[in-house]
Amino acid sequence: MSTIPKELRYSKDHEWINVVEGNIGLCGITFHAQQLLTDIVFVELPEMGLTVEAGERVAVVESVKAVSDVFSPVGGKILEVNNALEDEPALINTDPYEGGWIYKIGMDNPEDLEALMTASAYEKFITTGK
C-alpha cells in the first residue's frame, strides 16, 4: 500500500479525495494524518445530505488523546457516509485510503480540485513543510 496514492488529491490539512466517477469523490484523511493521531477511537460522521464548502469542517476524528477536525477538501453535498467507522474507527489507521474512507461527496464545483495538491506535491509538503 502506498502511503501517498498517486491518483488522489490532497489538502494542507491532510485530507484526501478520490474522484471515483464524474463529480463524485470519496474523502478521508491521509496515512500521515492517522500516523500522527495514532489509535483512532471515535469518528463523528457528517450528516447525510449536508452541503459543505471547500475548507469547511465536515467531520471529527478522535484519538485517545486528541480531537481532530476533518475539513472537506472540496465543496458539495454529502451523498454517503462510511457507517463501518462507527464500530471500527481504527479502519482509518489500518486502511486510510480504502476501508477507512469517511464520506462520499457530490462536488458542486470540480474546479475545487485544482487548488489541491498532487501526490508528489503532498509528499514534498509533509517532508519539507512547503
Binding site: 495514532t38 489509535d39 477511537v41 471515535f42 463523528e44 478522535e62 484519538s63 485517545v64 488523546k65
Partner: protein
Amino acid sequence: MEKTALYEEHISLNGKLVDFAGWELPVLYTSIIEEHTAARTKAALFDVSHMGEIMVKGKNAGKFLQGMIPTSLDRLEPGQCMYSCMCNDRGGVIDDLFVYMLEENDFLLVVNASTTEKDVRWLSSHAAGEVEIENISGLISKIDLQGPFSLQILSDIFTDEALSELERFHFMHSTYEARPIIISHTGYTGETGYELYLHNDLAPGLWRALLAKGKDYGLLPAGLGARDTLRLEACYSLYGHELNEETTPYESGIGWLVNSKENFIGKSALLEQKKHGIPRELVCLELVDRGIPREKCAVRIGGEEIGITTSGGYSPTLKKGIALAMIKKGMLALDSFCDIIIRDNPCRAKAVKRPFYRYTE
C-alpha cells in the same frame, strides 16, 4: 523542559515526547491502546521519575507528619506504606501522596511532579520541633512495573525470597548493582505491580534489564497516555483534575482518608463541612450514547446543569467513553442517567459504581 535519567532510553525506543509538568516524557511509544492492554494482560513499564520524593525525619517527624495529614499513622509500621493527602486550612487538597514508613520517625513521601516544590515549601514552613524535611527528588528515579506478569519479571532480576511474599501496600529494601533500591507493591494502574525507587545513575541499567527480562512475557514500555487511561478505568484521582485546593477530600471521593483523631491542618474545616452537609460529590459516568467525554464537559439532567467532568476519555477495556464528574451531591443516583455535553451535543451517560475496572486475581 527537564529530562529524567531515562531520557535517552525513550529516544532509542522512539517515544513520542511531550511536556508534562515541565518534564519531557513519552505520551506513548507505539500506541496508547497497545500499552494499556499490555498493562492489563501482560506487563507494562513506566518511567515516572518526574514524581517527587521528600524525606521527613527526626525525633518529631511522626508527630509533625500526623499534623499535616488527615489519615491516622497509628497502624503504619516500618515496611508499610499508605495513601493520604495534605489539606490546607479550608480543607482543600494541597496534594495527594503516599507515605512510606522507613523507620519509626523516618518517612518517605512520594508526591506529584506538578506539586513537588509546593509540597516541600508547605512542609518546611510548618515544620516544628526536631524534624528535617529533605527534597531528594533530584536524586531518585522511579520505575513502575505493572501487570499480571510483574512479579515473574521482577523475580528474574531480584531473587530475594521476600519478594513473592511482599503484600500490597508494603515495601522492601533490596539492592541493584550493590546499591540500595526500594521495591514497593503498589501502583497507579489498578493491576498488581511494583514501584521501584533507585538512584538516577542506576535507572537506565535496570530499565533495560527489565525490558530484556520482560520480553518473553510481552512487557511493553508504556507512556503517560496509557498511565492516564489505566488510572481513569481504576477511578484513581489525578491532582489538578479531581483534586485541587478548592475541593475537600469528602467532595473528591477520598473522604475515607479522613480518619485521624489527632489535630491536623484542615480538621476544623472538614468537621464543619461534614456537619453542614457535603455540597458536591465525585461520580463515575459511563457513556451510553456514542461519544468520548473529555475534562470540563458540562453534566446535565433534563437540561439543568448539575456539574462538570473532571476527567474523561476512552476506556480501552470497556470500549466506550468514561468520565469522572464533580456534581451537586445527591442529584444523580447510581444507575440513573444524565447528559454529558460533548462539543455542544448532549450524550447520554449512566452513573456507575466505582471502579470502572476492578483487578481480579
